[in-house]
């Protein structure tokens, strides 16, 4: 068998090139993942929160802080869980110690123990950025440091933000704060680095009860879209006209 030098070199180079392709490059990519990575108008990220399912474990808050490098012991957070306890005398008790980061291991609320017999309703409400269709925070930015992507997520350009704080004041939901390390405005990004790779957000993954879900509103077969379209859902502070895109199941009038 003869083998010219040219042919030998060709085979060697081709072999080396093939061997350098990592296994992960050959894995099957679903159409959803491709759509997510492009990030154009074919996707509209929305969130669905089922307050009936939430047990207030706070794993979502913990996961969010670690995933997104939000300093753990500083009292700021991108997402948080609120506890609502309505007693028979008509009073509403609300608390969210450390944003619910450590869960709710005790019935004590604001140094007050409420008798279980007095409770008429009690539940947990996870909150996060509503990724509004008409985000007030973006409208007020004087330098173009915060914007809405084509797939509907509101992001902050950390290099461009001057830290004026207009957006923090403009958000009706109070989801924005100052990042203590980067010294710029900070907010939930729907884990843009994860959803654009076809992963779920850190909080959705951390939730063991299915209380948090993320989906694409422009995909009619998405389970989240189906719930939003076919079942009874509500949004927070509809009257502000910001068109929030975080939908809630089992919302109560006491929730603010």
């Amino acid at each position: 068998m003869s083998c010219s030098r040219r042919k030998f070199l060709k085979t060697t180079i081709a072999g080396a090139a093939a061997a350098s392709v990592p296994l992960s490059a050959l894995k099957f990519i679903s159409p959803d993942e491709v759509r997510a990575s492009v990030g154009d108008e074919k996707t509209r990220w929305v969130f669905l929160v089922d307050t009936q399912k939430c047990v207030g474990c706070g794993f979502c808050v913990k996961a969010c802080k670690l995933e997104n490098e939000v300093p753990y012991d500083v009292p700021v957070t991108r997402t948080w869980v609120e506890r609502y306890v309505v007693t028979r005398d008509g009073q509403t008790h609300i608390d969210s110690p450390d944003g619910g980061r450590e869960g709710y291991p005790t019935a004590k609320m604001n140094d007050e123990v409420i008798d279980p017999k007095e409770i008429s309703k009690a539940f947990f409400v996870p909150k996060l950025c509503n990724q509004c269709q008409n985000p007030a925070c973006v409208q007020v930015c004087p330098v173009g440091a915060t914007y809405q992507t084509l797939d509907g997520v509101v992001l902050i350009d950390r290099k461009w933000c001057i830290g004026c704080g207009y957006c923090v004041m403009a958000c009706p939901y109070g989801v924005r704060f100052f990042h203590p390390v980067h010294k710029v405005a900070e907010k939930c990004t729907f884990c843009y680095h994860r959803i654009s790779q076809g992963l779920k957000t850190a909080c959705v993954d951390a939730c063991s009860f299915g209380a948090r879900q993320i989906g694409n509103l422009k995909d009619p077969n998405d389970p989240v879209t189906r719930v939003i379209m076919n079942e009874r859902v509500a949004v927070l502070k509809d009257e502000y006209g910001t068109k929030p895109q975080v939908f809630y199941i089992g919302l109560d009038k006491e929730v603010r």
Partner: protein, 156 residues
């Protein structure tokens, strides 16, 4: 017109020119309207890629199953199957390269996030199995008796 009247005009024009030149070099090339309109889409385009390049830290159960197949399979058969490994073991990051070992949280507080009994109607929490942390073996670590991977009664 006299020279002294024109001089401030030249000065103003030079100032405007300088600002335009400096602005040309300072504003990134990809700054402009990229979204739906000026109000919501006026920004630096590469900022989106910077966010996409952020490091993923929580890798999910499937990543763990690549090596810890047995543990994951055992867990998938139990009531704790919907709990992510990383909720208790911490984010995987680049494990097993960095960190080589994950720190497992074994505190009572971790279990009490769900299993401290709260008598709440209209919430899943009320129907979860729970204990009163003050009276249920307050000194003991939960995992001394309960297997967190497979907490069913037979494992007791």
């Amino acid at each position: 017109m006299k020279n002294h009247a024109l001089r401030p005009l030249w000065l103003a024009l030079a100032l405007v020119g300088t600002i335009l030149i400096v602005r040309h070099f300072l504003v990134p090339k990809d700054f402009g309207v990229h979204g739906r309109n000026f109000t919501y889409g006026f920004h630096r385009l590469s900022s989106i890629d910077e966010w996409k390049a952020f490091t993923v830290k929580y890798k999910g159960k499937e990543y763990c199953a690549d090596c810890h197949e047995e543990k994951v399979q055992e867990n998938l058969k139990s009531k704790h199957r919907d709990i992510q490994c990383e909720n208790c073991h911490g984010p995987a990051l680049e494990h097993p390269d960095n960190p080589e070992k994950l720190v497992v949280e074994r505190s009572r507080e971790l279990c009490l996030r769900c299993h401290a009994k709260l008598e709440y109607p209209n919430s899943n929490r009320g129907s979860l199995k729970g204990v009163d942390p003050a009276s249920h073996n307050p000194e003991a670590v939960c995992s001394e008796c309960h297997n967190p991977h497979k907490p069913d009664r037979e494992g007791l």
